[in-house]
Amino acid sequence: MASVSSESGETLSLNIMPMLDVFSILILFLLMSFSTDPVSHDITAGLELPESISIRSLDENPLITITKKDIRVGDLIVTGLENGDVIESNRTQGAIAPLFKELEKLAEANRVRKDLPVDLEGPQKDALTVEMDQSLSFKLLKRVMLTAQQAEFVAFKLMVNKANDG
């Protein structure tokens, strides 16, 4: 119990036990929900992920973000979107030209990495992680996948929210 003496000499005591109780419960809750996932990722602002029962966690693959406004590789915006599709000037044979250029660079980096000793525990080298708004259509995802295929990426990890009851 913490105590303070007032001017009149009277000792005022503050009961801090309830505060300690609250702190203990809060710490217990935070420790329980502490993420042990190897990779943490902040969801892009304005983007909503669908829920899934998957318990597979993220790993360090290159990230393609598809928001309602644009497509990004990492933090770089490669193309804008119009009415839920890629702007026409950036489309070529169903694929997305600026995205292909960026993925080519990643594929080149992967080719260099493939010469290094194989890390069995490491992320799949020809895989991409896709973070996409749940309201966007498969047509757009198909364009992204088709572009990735041309750049030799054939495996995808579609980002989802882990359902609480999953």
Partner: protein, 181 residues
């Protein structure tokens, strides 16, 4: 006796525990945990797309008889079909409405296929363009994962068993067949 008397004569004042350092540690720990807490858990659904391979071509003289399982997803229906690559093809098709109950029915159909053929772990999925990512994720959940309490018989080929898989899978390999040049 003398000693005893001395001891009892010492007045024991009220002992107060200084909890301030304890509160300091708690405050810092709470601040750190609040900053590093991840309240939304992110997962992934793994899919593949068809690709050209430089692997040895299949022996067309002695083609292997394999069961192919497909799922066609449209706004209204999910069609589950299975057929053998070599005669007798024995094609089977079943259609389910694409709602919660229909997806559950489709999952049960896939479970029965997988139970009858434990070595088949690949499914090719075809989707219409207007399906949203949310709808796609719902169907992928039904295709990829087993519900709690569901089990599969072990595969005939023991090498096909994956060790260390954290989540029981129904069809772990999903190929997005619509993504073709």
């Amino acid at each position: 006796m003398k000693r005893k008397r001395k001891r009892s004569s010492i007045e024991v004042g009220a002992v107060e525990l200084n909890v301030m350092p304890f509160i300091d540690v708690f405050s810092l720990l709470t601040t750190f945990l609040l900053f590093s807490a991840v309240f939304i858990q992110i997962g992934v659904l793994e899919v593949q797309i068809p690709f050209l391979s430089n692997a040895k071509p299949p022996d067309f003289q002695k083609p292997e008889r394999v069961l192919e399982v497909k799922a066609d997803v449209s706004k209204e229906f999910i069609e589950i079909s299975s057929s053998w690559t070599v005669a007798p093809i024995d094609e089977k098709k079943k259609q389910f409405p694409r709602n919660k109950a229909g997806i559950a029915e489709a999952h049960r159909e896939l479970l029965s296929i997988r139970t009858a053929h434990p070595d088949i772990d690949k499914l090719t999925m075809y989707s219409e363009d207007d399906i949203t990512y949310k709808e796609l994720a719902e169907v992928l959940d039904a295709i990829k994962f087993l519900a709690p309490g569901e089990t599969l018989p072990p595969p005939k080929d023991p090498s096909a068993m994956k060790n260390g898989e954290s989540q029981p899978s129904l069809f772990p390999k999903v190929i997005m067949g619509s993504v073709m040049l």
